[in-house]
Point group: C2
Chain length 314, copies 2
């Protein structure tokens, strides 16, 4: 028994302002797996990607070309991409941190990449070994060369709603970083709540700052972590502001190692449940997705943190 059997509600009240269709940007294979201590076999990763595409997800962040020393879990990026069963109509973006990563991505015939920027000085120094301004010296050549090669580039902006060292992050600072990524050639920004401290109000504040600065809401995606239980409420706030791309991770896999708890990414299943209830199209077969997450949880040896997975598979 679920929201599906209860019938889709009519659109009324403030849900009138919701988008009719949302693109789910599935980050499980990359962001979800990257912090797993034990290396997941390539065969499992390939089956995971295949099952996710089979469940109707059309954007699968497949892997990362970060240096294997930093993320040993994704050292098999070339092999994953070479052996990938590509589904029609599915995009397989990969994370590319620098020019060396771009070279690897180009050699692997990737068509969509994502770069990873910081909205704060401290995180830029700690995570990128750079600085708030200096980071662009790293990204701009990557974005430029990728665009010249005909690739689509997404720009992640992390720590958009708060930083564990700096506290509150001024929205104007987030906008400045984001606009510079767009100006450099990114087609979309993913605004990351890397440590899970966003609430509905700060989500609105940051989104409003972007639209006031002339950025189209359709060029913004949101990426929430459920550290303090706010991910889905934040998503609702973003949808009402017109956001049409939402990042999530099948089964709620993953999370930021800098956060104070292991609670990670917004679970795709919980997002799908919300969208079903709101009558927003997403194209995902929830049963197939839940089966995939249960299977993956078995491979990882621990239960999914997704409420929907636990409820439907329990």
């Amino acid at each position: 028994m679920g929201v599906r059997e209860l019938g889709l509600p009519e659109r009324i009240g403030s849900t009138d302002s919701l988008p009719s269709k949302v693109t789910i940007w599935e980050v499980g294979p990359r962001d979800g797996l990257q912090n797993e201590a034990e290396v997941v076999p390539v065969e499992v990763k390939l089956e995971f990607l295949d099952r996710l595409a089979g469940a109707g997800l059309t954007t699968l962040e497949a892997t990362s070309f970060v240096h294997p020393k930093w993320v040993p879990q994704l050292a098999d990026a070339e092999e994953v991409l070479a052996r990938l069963h590509r589904h029609d109509g599915v995009r397989y973006p990969v994370l590319v941190p620098n020019e060396r990563g771009l070279d690897r991505a180009l050699a692997a015939d990737v068509t969509h990449i994502a770069v990873f920027a910081s909205a704060t000085e401290t995180f830029a120094r700690r995570n990128l070994n750079s600085g708030l301004d200096a980071q662009f010296a790293m990204f701009e050549p990557v974005i430029g060369r990728a665009r010249e090669a005909g690739l689509d580039v997404r720009g992640y902006v992390s720590m958009c709603f708060g930083d564990p060292w700096e506290g509150a992050v001024p929205p104007e600072q987030v906008v400045a970083v984001g606009k510079r990524l767009l100006d450099a050639g990114c087609s979309q920004l993913s605004l990351g709540d890397t440590i899970g401290v966003a609430t509905a109000a700060s989500v609105e504040r940051v989104l409003d700052a972007f639209t006031e600065a002339g950025v189209t809401i359709g060029d913004l995606a949101v990426h929430f972590h459920d550290t303090y239980g706010q991910a889905l409420a934040n998503t609702l706030a973003a949808l009402r502001k017109g956001v049409t791309t939402v990042d999530s991770s099948a089964g709620g896999l993953g999370g930021c190692p800098y956060a104070e708890s292991a609670t990670g990414n917004l679970a795709t299943e919980d997002l799908v449940w919300l969208l079903d209830g709101l009558g927003v199209e997403h194209g995902v077969d929830l049963d197939a997705l839940v089966e995939t997450s249960v299977w993956m949880a078995g491979k990882l040896g621990r239960p999914s943190p997704s409420r929907v997975v636990r409820a439907l598979a329990g």
Copy 2:
């Protein structure tokens, strides 16, 4: 590091329509504990109530006068109320299912009671051994006598957003049950999503149906379960409709035995985090509350399901 250190956001965008202050109706001591298999000692319940009041909660649903055969956990209702350390300005409502329960409540000098109705035929039969219409024969004398004795009466309406046997519940049916409780003398309704299937859209639909029927939004409370991860998003939707009373359970204790998973009540800590972020007053000291939930989790022998408790206590 938390939303508090990040500073309260300015009110902008659609958060303008939020209430400035919310009353948290803490149900942990009653709804949270009632399904615990092992009986919690009276001393623990008393300390739990004392700590919750000390953390700033002003409405504590203390216990229930349901027959001890059905809820052995709360068979000590008289003793709890007799030995309770009552804080100034704190209400201690108790659940009263029938006239026998009311007799016990009156003998215990209770000033606030709550009755428990069903929005559906099947749940009325299964849980109340009655029927959708017949249940009022049970409640109306309870409410009438309680009001004559000067007591305040809250009316719970369960299965407002979906029923495991009947599926979707017509909002008009929920409104009919609710209005009859108000007409009988209830001062407030608590609209329960007993199995956790509500989404933001159905919340708005039911609340709109009440206001269209002439019920004041201030007379409505919401009671969400996090079975499918939607409790906080639903709360946000309700706040935006003007609801000013939200039920929650410290540490996320409890849940409905009819749900498909053990995931229970909205955690008070997660609610407080949301309200802090939205700049909505609530009067609760989050640190003291988290300490209380960690202490209670130790007594129950398992970790709190609250994301905020896990993150802050981790």
